[in-house]
């Protein structure tokens, strides 16, 4: 998240400047008291965050150098192994397959969910009755927990489940949606898309609703057609939202665990071809009692996510990450962009 550092600094700089330019009564803060308040207000959050989020990640990097069963301390009860764990992980064909599945899900989620989400958000943005109700209903899969989604879908998809029954009734032959390695990953993709599409639609919808209405009015006066308006106004102005969603989707796909673990279980997932880096980590780490090895897998998973995220931020997100923070500068930029788009649409 390095980009956000510069983003937020700019935002702070902006407000400072605007303050200096206008005369105002100065509140003289007691410096001591200020520092005390900052400490008291922020210490609990920082301590709990460092302790339970950052520290484990650092520990993982340390544990990853040991062959260790998780009892006592790794340097006493374990065996220092250097980079052996990492070599084993990266040369393990099971892990390589898992990485492949992860990246398949990353790409296909973007390709499938992105356009669908934009189209459906466009649809939801039209005038109609009961829009609030519809919006609530399409958010249902996102609110329902992964365990329930997994349990429900595996009952629907199992070989004597509801889906095959319906297919047979209309004269088609069913398939083994879960265990057949040729099909399973597509099944996973469908379940994932079902679960997270609603969230994407709501995000896109929120993005669309912040596009100024005047642009459409102006374009309509100039005789632009519906699709012209969407192509020239909505899509370009939706850019930041789309890029933000894509980022969240990519990270989520790389860390995928719950659904696979629940529907396929730890052993079936590798034979069915749906294993992910995270299921591999749990199976080989905690499952086998090799905490050193499991930690090393976590580090690999983290590094892969980080590299992907950094590349994405560098080339895609960098220009509008500060858009996530509301400040006058980006607001102005956005307006200018909007005006430009409106001119183009004419």
């Amino acid at each position: 998240m390095e980009m956000s550092v510069s983003g937020s600094n700019e935002a702070v700089g902006g407000t400072v400047q605007s303050k200096a330019s206008r005369p105002k009564k100065k509140i003289v803060p007691d410096k001591w008291r200020n520092g005390f308040e900052i400490t008291v207000l922020s210490a609990p959050a920082i301590i709990i965050f460092l302790g339970f989020v950052i520290l484990p990640v650092i520990l993982a990097a340390y544990y990853g150098f040991f062959q260790w069963k998780g009892y006592g301390s790794p340097s006493v009860n374990g065996k220092f192994a250097g980079f052996q764990n990492y070599i084993t992980i990266l040369t393990d064909p099971t892990f390589q397959a898992a990485v492949g599945h992860n990246f398949f899900i990353v790409v296909m989620s973007l390709v499938v969910q992105g356009p669908l989400a934009i189209l459906f958000a466009l649809l939801m943005n039209q005038k109609m009755k009961g829009r609030a109700l519809i919006r609530t209903l399409i958010f249902v899969p996102y609110v329902v927990s992964e365990v329930i989604v997994g349990t429900g879908w595996s009952l629907i998809l199992q070989s004597n489940g509801a889906l095959n029954d319906i297919l047979r009734k209309i004269g088609l032959s069913g398939a083994d949606w879960i265990a057949d390695p040729k099909i399973a990953i597509w099944t996973l993709l469908v379940v994932i898309s079902w679960k997270y599409l609603g969230f994407a639609v709501i995000l896109m919808l929120a993005g669309m609703q912040s596009i100024p209405e005047e642009l459409y009015e102006a374009a309509r006066v100039d005789g632009a057609s519906f699709w012209q308006m969407q192509w020239r106004i909505t899509l370009p102005l939706l850019g930041p939202t789309i890029r933000l969603w894509a980022f969240l989707s990519i990270i989520g796909s790389l860390q995928l665990f719950d659904l696979v673990y629940i529907i396929w279980g730890q052993y079936v997932s590798s034979t069915a071809g749906t294993s992910t880096m995270a299921t591999y980590m749990v199976l080989e780490g905690r499952g086998a009692g090799n905490y050193g090895y499991g930690s090393a897998v976590a580090v690999v998973l983290f590094v892969i996510s980080l590299v992907v995220a950094l590349i994405y931020q560098k080339f895609v997100l960098s220009r509008d990450l500060e858009g996530a923070i509301t400040d006058e500068k980006t607001e102005k930029k956005r307006r200018e962009k909007a005006a430009k788009a409106a001119r183009k649409a004419r």
Binding site: M1, S4, F52, F120, L123, G207
Partner: protein, 305 residues
């Protein structure tokens, strides 16, 4: 205090006007004043989307009203007759209520803890000027890059060393920690948007900064607070990985673990599994449908694409 109240209502109106645009319908499809109800095609596709989203969930709920023999004979059929026994047996099972209580305790503590800690630190980041404020913000936003998956193995060992394995506090503390990044990212813009004049006016009236925080900031940031609180609650309610690692006795199970345990224990009793599953999703669904406006509104405020 009068000037402060005026700006307060202004700030509120500012928030409201953003939402006013919602019902206008942007770039309406085949716009015509003759069809105030909107175009039929729009309804058609909306209906398809809703059906796809809702049908699998309905399958679970309705399936709970069937008997096992009904399900085996016709897996995709409707209940005939409707059986209520499955639901009754779930409601009578003490494990269900124990797990429900555990989930509820954890989710409520996580929600309250996340909102309290998140508000405090967001207030500092948004409204105090000091050297480390930028670093603090990026520290927390970096947290989005550390989902629980990466940390879980050492986190489990850490909690074991702290003696928190198989206990609810062992779930609550890390869940608060992992909920903080998104909370802070949503709350900071909200708190930054509160006009400085308001704080100055409050200061002139002899209100300390903490008093300002308590009396003005919290009420004004309510939409953001609601969003983050609800998200924290629902995420905690649905959390699977941490309880999976941490809890090993059934008396401490939360509902997601309970559902999974139940469905493997009673794998043959599909109808009861369906009933158990649908009972366990009701609280989150209720919670969400009551507060969905805040969630969607808060997300809109946080994105502002």
């Amino acid at each position: 205090m009068s000037s402060a109240t005026i700006s307060a209502t202004k700030a509120r109106n500012g928030n409201g006007s953003r939402k006013n645009g919602k019902n206008k319908g942007k770039g309406d499809f085949h716009y015509s004043p003759k069809t105030p109800w909107g175009h039929p095609i729009v309804y058609f596709f909306a209906l398809i989307l809703v059906a796809v989203c809702v049908l699998p969930v309905l399958y679970i709920i309705i399936g709970g009203f069937r008997s096992n023999s009904q399900i085996t004979q016709s897996p995709s059929g409707f209940p005939n007759p409707w059986e209520i026994d499955n639901y009754i047996s779930v409601l009578k099972a003490p494990t269900f209520w124990v797990e429900m209580m555990n989930s509820l305790i954890v989710a409520v503590f996580v929600m309250v803890g996340t909102v309290a800690l998140g508000l405090m630190v967001s207030f500092v980041i948004a409204r105090y000027r000091f050297k480390l404020s930028g670093a603090m913000y990026s520290l927390f936003s970096a947290g989005l890059m550390f989902p629980i998956t990466v940390a879980i193995t050492p986190l489990y060992l850490l909690l074991r060393n702290l003696g928190l394995v198989n206990s609810l506090p062992g779930l609550i503390l890390p869940e608060i920690a992992f909920a903080l990044p998104q909370t802070i990212i949503i709350l900071v813009p909200f708190l930054k948007a509160i006009p400085d004049e308001l704080e100055e006016a409050a200061a002139l009236d002899g209100c300390s900064r903490l008093g300002f925080f308590w009396r003005m900031v919290i009420p004004l940031a309510m939409p953001g607070v609601a969003t983050t609180g609800i998200l924290a609650f629902v995420n905690s309610w649905n959390n699977y990985m941490l309880p999976l690692f941490l809890l090993n006795s059934e008396s401490k199970f939360t509902l997601p673990l309970g559902v999974q345990m139940f469905s493997s224990q009673y794998a043959v009793d599909t109808a009861r599994v369906l009933a158990f599953t649908s009972m366990s999703m009701i609280p989150a669904l209720l919670f969400f449908s009551v507060f969905q406006k805040q969630i969607v509104g808060g997300l809109t405020g946080a994105i502002k694409g």
